[in-house]
């Protein structure tokens, strides 16, 4: 157990170092994020201006704009479109080499893919944050709603990281069935993006599905931390939110491990 932990930490270090290798790619990702956010913010401003008095939004314009920035900050977390390296290993059959390590493959990949996420997160989010602060007036990022809200936001981001890593590992485990191709993983990923609030804040969805939206697993990836940041959820409400995040992480870990152990029984290592 202690050895596994040490090995995973070591794996985490080496993978994070490796993912920092491609700084330019991270930077270009950040530029995409920034431009996308500006477009989104513009669209929201237009909507809110012309809907003045005619519609009753559950989020104020300021909150929606802050939400958009926070969402882009956390976007790298959502990169659970399976770690490129793991995907490469599955396709080329190098997964055989991974299986020759005295480590549980699940935790091995969990450490690797979460570390890859940290690398992109640091660079990309750093650049987005800087842009959010520098962009003037209405378009820029606003300060968090309250200090307790901000602290809970940070805690919630930690949980979101765990949740996304667990989901990413599940996606990788599903991908181990190589003959399926990428189809199933892309479906899972798209579902995750939509339901995490990656396209539209969940609180702007119709009222009658709000409860369901809040308790589904993907809300914890972006929407819950973002709510705490913009203050559309009060700090006092945070505990059940965090429990939702942690609970779903546990579920994803359990299912991921199950799927992987079943897949490994009939894994086929391709190539000579």
């Amino acid at each position: 157990m202690k050895r596994t932990l040490r090995a995973c930490l070591s794996l985490f270090r080496i993978r994070a170092a490796e993912s920092l290798q491609y700084r330019l790619a991270a930077l270009s990702g950040a530029v995409v994020s920034i431009v996308w956010t500006l477009i989104e913010v513009t669209v929201y401003i237009v909507f809110y201006t012309y809907a003045e008095g005619r519609a009753n939004f559950s989020l104020t314009l300021g909150q929606v704009i802050a939400y958009s920035w926070v969402k882009e900050l956390l976007y790298a977390l959502l990169v659970f479109n399976i770690d490129d390296e793991i995907r490469g290993k599955i396709i080329s059959g190098d997964v055989g080499v991974e299986l020759c390590r005295p480590l549980d493959l699940y935790w091995h990949w969990f450490a690797k893919s979460s570390a890859g996420r940290v690398g992109t997160l640091t660079f990309r989010s750093g650049a987005v944050l800087l842009a959010g602060i520098l962009i003037p007036g209405q378009y820029g990022m606003t300060l968090p709603a309250s200090l307790p809200g901000f602290l809970l936001f940070l805690l919630s981001v930690g949980c979101a990281f765990l949740l996304c890593s667990a989901f990413g590992a599940l996606v990788s485990a599903v991908r181990l069935g190589i003959t399926w191709g990428d189809g199933p993983t892309y479906m899972l990923i798209l579902l995750g993006h939509v339901l995490s609030g990656g396209y539209l804040p969940l609180q702007l969805w119709p009222d009658f599905i709000q409860t369901a939206l809040l308790y589904q697993p993907f809300a914890g990836m972006i929407d819950i931390p973002a709510r705490l940041y913009v203050g559309s959820a009060a700090p006092a409400e945070a505990v059940p939110f965090l429990l939702v995040q942690i609970g779903w992480s546990a579920v994803f870990v359990a299912v991921g491990r199950l799927v992987m152990s079943r897949r490994l029984k009939n894994v086929i290592v391709q190539g000579g």
């Binding site: 090995a7 080496i14 170092a17 490796e18 190098d94 080499v97 020759c100 390590r101 000579g272």
Partner: protein
């Protein structure tokens, strides 16, 4: 008791085939034909501790599959396999901590980081105590002459350099058993000779059992006291190289490659 004991190992793979013909592509999207290809058809052998065994056979004969079964990656359909008293695919983690593997066509080094980082990761993965790791690394690096490469990222190594580093990586945890799948593929004469000399030396010094697959008969001649020939998923020959010559050579002193080619022809492989 032998270190490796295989008996009656069978493994078949499913191959999906698209119907041929003009509409094959479209039809294939809905209906696929499944064909079963037998990779191993009852392979049995045993290997004792400290042996250096060569595994040869034409492409697609089942060599790599055999190695994969023995290293616990593949679960065979039938048959039994006990290595160091364990069934590889059942006690995978315990099993692989005692074996080392080198797949000539795959790499276990991290592409973008210095080789030494890959090594220290392996130290943590195998839980090697620090002092033992340092002395082992020093010894291996000296013997394989890779001291100067430790700070180089794997992507900047030549194939020969990389293969030597792979060997260091496979032996760091002092495994009892070493599987080498085409370790000399694509190497130049100097690297090949260095690799062979090292393997022979390591075997003599630490008594590691090594099982290698290869297409290079010189590897076998230089290293292995015992050869196994696999063809069509079956073990066709198991014994010394001289015995193989005796059975298949057309004339005295015929080139080993020719002898092997003749054998493959005769056995209709």
């Amino acid at each position: 008791m032998p270190q490796i004991e295989l008996s009656g190992i069978r493994k078949a793979f499913k191959v999906y085939e698209r119907p041929a013909g003009r509409w094959g592509l479209l039809k294939g999207a809905f209906k696929r034909e499944v064909r079963s290809v037998t990779a191993l058809d009852g392979v049995s052998f045993s290997v004792g501790e400290g042996e250096l065994v060569g595994l040869i056979g034409p492409n697609g004969a089942g060599k790599s599959t055999t190695v994969k079964v023995m290293s616990g990656i593949l679960t065979p359909d039938a048959g039994s396999c006990v290595i160091n008293g364990r069934v590889p695919w059942k006690a995978r983690v315990a099993h692989v901590s005692e074996i080392g593997v080198v797949f000539g066509q795959r790499s276990q080094l991290w592409w973008d980081v210095p080789v030494s980082d890959s090594f220290s990761l392996l130290r943590d993965i195998y839980g090697i105590p620090r002092e033992r790791y340092e002395s082992r690394l020093g010894g291996l690096c000296g013997a394989l002459e890779v001291d100067s490469l430790l700070k180089t990222p794997a992507r900047q190594l030549s194939l020969g350099q990389r293969m030597r580093c792979e060997l260091v990586a496979a032996l760091l945890h002092s495994p009892k058993l070493l599987f080498l799948d085409e370790p000399t593929i694509g190497l130049d004469a100097v690297s090949k000779l260095a690799l062979r000399a090292f393997l022979k030396d390591e075997n003599a010094r630490s008594g590691v059992t090594a099982l290698l697959t290869t297409h290079d008969m010189d590897d076998i001649e230089a290293l292995c006291s015992r050869v196994m020939v696999i063809g069509r998923g079956k073990l066709l020959y198991d014994g010394g190289l001289p015995g193989l010559r005796e059975r298949y050579a057309a004339y005295e002193g015929q080139d080993t490659d020719e002898v092997i080619a003749r054998m493959y022809e005769e056995e209709a492989l």
